[in-house]
């Protein structure tokens, strides 16, 4: 199967779906780039991470819409266009910017169907880059999927591989509910097998990345790869684990986690965000409530500290849960 980067996999999904469905539009800051510039060249950016590169040449400025720096208007326009029959894909350059447009996400798009008694649908996708690791500082490095997972009416995707990124985005665009699609910046260059054609990865179905006996490890987005590194190291000692990648945090495939814990009795959750009210806490709480009797040891949560993301490289490296911390956590849960 062809090898493609996470970035290209998402780009491909956008091309495929925009060809298939004329109702799909893309809007955001610099999604094409060059509008109003002196070179006259469009597609000068293709999104600052290059994810929307090339779209404008095939679909034109009416469907690939560069916007001013107005996130509330971007997301709100996406939601309004969705109510009026389109299937918009709005881009938030950085997920951190939900701060200036949360209302349109959580009070508007997420609640329309319920407030309006099921009389409408809001098939909006919001793509947002997330995550630490590039020295982008406290306001451009957060992993805030928990904040939106908490919101009834939203669906949340947190892909960890190029294959899932493409398949989940195609599902997201075809979904009749609003979806927030998180793309970890550090994963953009990561390569993996991605079929050329059309395929979807369903929401609410976790991936059992590895099967093992001793412990269940749940990891999100970039943390999945780090967990694999940790498990590679432990494998030498015969320690094996179920590694579960939820892929979507809303809906969450809790059953797959419960079933695994029934078998292993031990759970480690790896989450790049700070601990309070996080996905790690959420899953730990769900297991303590719904699979308690299967647990043989305390749940271990491996998260960032309760602190903003620091700038200095060394501090940022210490901030992000890495393979070593995951390995240590697994050793600990096996001791308990």
């Amino acid at each position: 199967m062809p090898q493609k980067s996470f970035r290209d996999a998402i780009n491909e999904a956008l091309f495929l779906e925009m060809r298939r469905d004329p109702r799909v539009i893309v809007l955001g800051e610099d999604v094409s780039g060059g509008a109003g510039g002196t070179s006259g060249q469009r597609d000068a950016a293709g999104g600052i991470f290059g994810v929307t590169k090339g779209l404008i040449h095939e679909f034109g400025a009416e469907r690939v819409i560069d916007t001013p720096i107005s996130e509330s208007a971007i997301v709100g326009a996406g939601a309004g266009a969705a109510l009026a029959g389109l299937r918009p894909v709005a881009e938030l350059m950085f997920a951190d910017f939900v701060g200036v447009c949360l209302d349109q996400i959580y009070n508007q798009a997420a609640k329309f169907r319920y407030m309006f008694g099921g009389k409408t649908r809001c098939p909006l996708v919001i793509r947002a880059s997330m995550g630490a690791g590039m020295g982008m500082g406290a306001q451009h490095s957060q992993s805030i999927y928990a904040l939106l997972t908490a919101v009834p009416g939203l669906k949340i995707a947190v892909p960890s591989t190029p294959y899932d990124a493409k398949g989940l985005l195609l599902s997201a665009i075809r979904d009749d509910d609003p979806v927030v699609f998180f793309e970890h910046k550090a994963l953009y260059p990561r390569k993996g097998e991605v079929p050329d054609g059309d395929y979807t990865v369903p929401f609410g179905e976790a991936a059992l990345v590895r099967e093992g006996e001793h412990v269940t490890v749940v990891a999100i987005a970039r943390m999945v790869g780090f967990a694999e590194k940790a498990l590679d190291a432990l494998a030498k000692e015969g320690i094996t684990a179920d590694l579960i990648d939820p892929r979507t945090t809303s809906p969450l495939d809790a059953d797959t986690i419960y079933e695994s814990v029934e078998g292993t009795g031990r759970l480690v959750i790896v989450d790049e965000s700070p601990p309070r009210c996080s996905i790690a806490a959420d899953i730990a709480g769900l297991v303590a409530t719904n699979a308690f009797h299967a647990l043989k040891a305390p749940v271990v949560q491996v998260t960032a500290p309760h602190a903003p993301v620091p700038f200095a490289r060394e501090l940022e490296r210490a901030y992000v849960p890495g393979p070593q911390r995951i390995e240590a956590a697994i050793r600990q849960v096996l001791k308990d």
Partner: protein, 328 residues
Amino acid sequence: MSTEVPADLTRAQLLDAYRRMKTIREFEERLHVEIQSGQISGFTHLYAGQEAVAVGLCMHLTDADYIVSTHRGHGHCIAKGCDVDGMMLEIYGRAGGLCKGKGGSMHIADFDRGMLGANAIVGGGPPLAVGAGIAAKLARKGAVTAAFGGDGSSNQGTVFEAMNLAVVLKTPTLFVFEDNGYSEHTGAKYAVGSQDIAGRARGFGMPAVRVDGIDFFAVYEAMGEAVARARRGEGPSTIEATCTRYFGHFEGDPQLYRAKDEVQRHRETMDCLKRFRERVVGQDLLPARELDSIDSEVLGRIDAAVKKAQAAPPPAEAELTTDVYVSY
């Protein structure tokens, strides 16, 4: 502004416009009374006094055109053609309401009428209207979209973002500001820096006019120009309409911020329905009795809606967790 009745308004249209305005007025006056019964919970923001604005716009629109509304949305709904029974049921929170009783007064919507929803967040609507405008543009059927807002909403950043985006994308969008002089208990004289909302709109590069919102015909003309401009693909416009709300910000508001006689004076000397009546009867366009019969017809219609709502059952408890998602 024109004191002449625009020639393009047919007799039927004049009757229609009057019926819509009267229906709004009666709907709100009756709610003001019924609310005392305690059967209606939450915030109810009445539109009485501002009828000419909503109807002055919506007379130019069809079900294919979109509007987004505000917390003070009953008038916009009725002007756009929403079913009065369904609205009343919704406000009472009963089964059969336009939103199954799950939305309430601040969240009435009717997608068959192009009414994309009242909105309890000030400034929540305009970005949505721009988005609907993007869809209308792509559909190439000449549909337009309009966002209602108040003087107070002209201070919310989301509104400016929407205005600028509409200009940049040339969407067929109207920004209608109903300047009734107050945001809750605070006067526009204090809160609206320039006291010139139309001027703000021009700052974003779109045409903007200020009209006397109690003069239906003046509003109708200004809206007509903006709608035509939008349908021609020439982009957004702003209409600032000055008007007065007859009741408190919400029901129960003691209105300590208002001069004692303020509302009474307006009701007597500057009422949009009276003006309309004087004008059309005075110019022999319609006989008074036809308007009188509309009055009594509307009265009956609202009375029936109230009785129906009061008799209706609440939503089934199972509705609590339906409609959260389409897919589950």
